[in-house]
């Protein structure tokens, strides 16, 4: 990629350079309908999880953890802003148009990130699963033939590496800590486990985006190996619970009951003042 660094590039965005949602909006890169749909999926996952983690701020078990969880939430909202800004180029919409003025059924988040925080164990269980998945996803997406997606993923993967470490370190402490922590993290893993399969499910959109999107099924082996290895080290069992089937043929039609509440809270103020700037 560096070979071309001095050459004129079609867009101002390339891997290894610092990016912001403003720079994406101004880059001139325009997502196709399919690419936008894909970017929106990834952006919604990041946004909803950030929203969930934001709840923990001023409620965490230790001050250090208030900082850690808000750091992760900040990284995720950063990813969401990049991805939604890029998606919005297809429809001439801003990140805020997409975040605040899309109805529930048009969001594309997976059910895992929508699940309730529960106790700290439940939140960490979700963090382990999602971070391992997202790490493998961004690692592969950094090689995407779409330069904007590749640049976003290249930046994000470095952050998610820390999210994986954070979750793994806590899984060890909770798994090997006390009887109570062991019971709670095991319960958290069981609660989140039914939504694992969805992360690795392909659909037609992915088929159409060969070389641009990352095929979710291709991430399963590496992500699950990572998850199993941390659980084994923490002497925790891989939960044996049924996977929650998708209610529609495609991921886009399936979502949890939680989504409506998350959006009702998140969008309430923006929707009271349509057209206002903040």
């Amino acid at each position: 990629m560096s070979t071309f660094a001095s050459q004129e590039s079609a867009t101002k965005i390339s891997a290894g350079e610092s990016i912001s949602s403003e720079s994406i909006a101004e880059s001139g890169a325009t997502a196709s309908e399919d690419v936008a749909q894909y970017a929106m999926r990834l952006g919604d996952d990041a946004l909803i999880l950030s929203q969930r983690l934001g709840w923990w701020i001023a409620r965490a078990p230790e001050l250090e953890e208030d900082i850690a969880l808000s750091n992760i939430a900040l990284d995720l909202i950063g990813h969401a802003r990049f991805l939604l800004t890029y998606a919005g180029t297809a429809w001439n919409k801003s990140e805020d148009d997409l975040a605040y003025f899309r109805p529930e059924e048009e969001f594309r988040s997976c059910r895992l990130v929508e699940q309730e925080n529960g106790d700290f164990g439940q939140t960490i269980a979700r963090q382990l699963i999602f971070s391992m998945y997202q790490y493998e996803l961004y690692k592969a997406l950094a090689e995407s033939s779409d330069p904007t997606l590749a640049a976003i993923a290249d930046k994000a993967v470095k952050e998610v590496e820390y999210h994986v470490d954070h979750a793994s370190q806590w899984i060890l402490r909770l798994g090997l800590g006390t009887e109570e922590s062991r019971r709670r993290i095991a319960a958290g893993l069981e609660y989140m486990w039914p939504y694992v399969e969805e992360l690795f499910t392909d659909d037609e959109l992915i088929d159409r985006l060969d070389g641009v999107a990352v095929r979710p099924s291709s991430l399963e082996e590496a992500a699950m190996r990572g998850i199993r290895s941390v659980l084994a080290e923490a002497e925790l069992e891989v939960p044996e619970v049924a996977q929650a089937r998708l209610t529609s043929e495609v991921r886009d039609g399936s979502y949890s009951e939680h989504r409506g509440y998350i959006l009702a809270e998140m969008q309430s103020l923006a929707r009271q003042h349509p057209g206002a700037t903040w």
């Binding site: 929203q51 001023a58 078990p61 900082i67 808000s70 802003r81 090997l176 800590g177 103020l269 903040w278």
Partner: protein, 365 residues
Amino acid sequence: MLTTTVYPYILNERSVFISLEDVMTHTDDAVAPEQEHFDALIADDSRIEPRDWMPEAYRKTLTRQISQHAHSEIIGMQPEANWITRAPSLKRKSILMAKVQDEAGHGLYLYSSAETLGTPRPVLNDQLLTGRAKYSSIFNYPARTWADMGAIGWLVDGAAICNQVPLCRASYGPYGRAMVRICKEESFHQRQGWEILYELSHGTDAQKKMAQDAVDRFYGPALQMFGPPDADSPNSQQSMAWNIKRFSNDELRQRFVDMIVPQAEALGLTLPDPDLVWNEERQHYDYGELDWDEFMSVIKGRGPCSVQRMKRRREAHENGAWVREAAAAYAERQAARAAEAANHEDHETETAPSSQRPAAQLIGA
């Protein structure tokens, strides 16, 4: 009781009891040369460091002041965290989260700084949770609207900056150095708050109204952050003599008022004080009498959100107990394993002296 006015946040008259016997090796009975050395450092406007001898009252005053500042940062996270999930744009949400995160960071620097005086963080935390330590009364007011995020940033952080900039030169080294970092971030926060209000006051009618309402509610309590009038704050003198406090409450309040009047004009918002007027002779703004009865009542725990704030802090602490216990148990387990491994290695090699391996035992501790 050394001071009723503490910088940058306000204290109750009741002092926080700290069992100094447990943590101090020196007392005021220490030999005169130590006192002389301390006095000389203060006279030189030099820094006192943790290893230096210091009078018990100096240590106690600082411990109380620094820990109450830390508690204020921690409780102060709550009114702003109230809007993280509802922030009206992704950019604002991101800035707000970063700001609240900074406050947790300030709490950490300050607790660390207080710990250098000999009181461990869990003890300080316990003083907060049991209500023996106070925090700034401003955080006992509700953050009802998004505009409150602007008013808190502009007025509350603005008042904190006026208070805190001179504290960067506080005679106690770890405190002064912590304040340098904190002030840099606070000034960023104040600008963000001002920017929120600027957007609102130049927005729709509803937004303007929201902005004015927030300023109306936060103006008085923000001015009270500097503490009671000088006439009612006789003990500030000792803090000033120790080079902890550099300016009186009223001096700082005046500086703040002079600063915000033109800023309010630039925002197109009014300050809710009919007596606010430029005094040509003094070259300062005159301002009206503040409601000190309200101030005292809020300090005594009757603030609109006093009970709620403490309840939430206690709940976070209690709900997190099992997590902290797990982390401690894990650390012990790892330490035991490392010790066992080191022991095993000893038997295997029987050459290297064990003193060369203490680091291994600390891993995971």
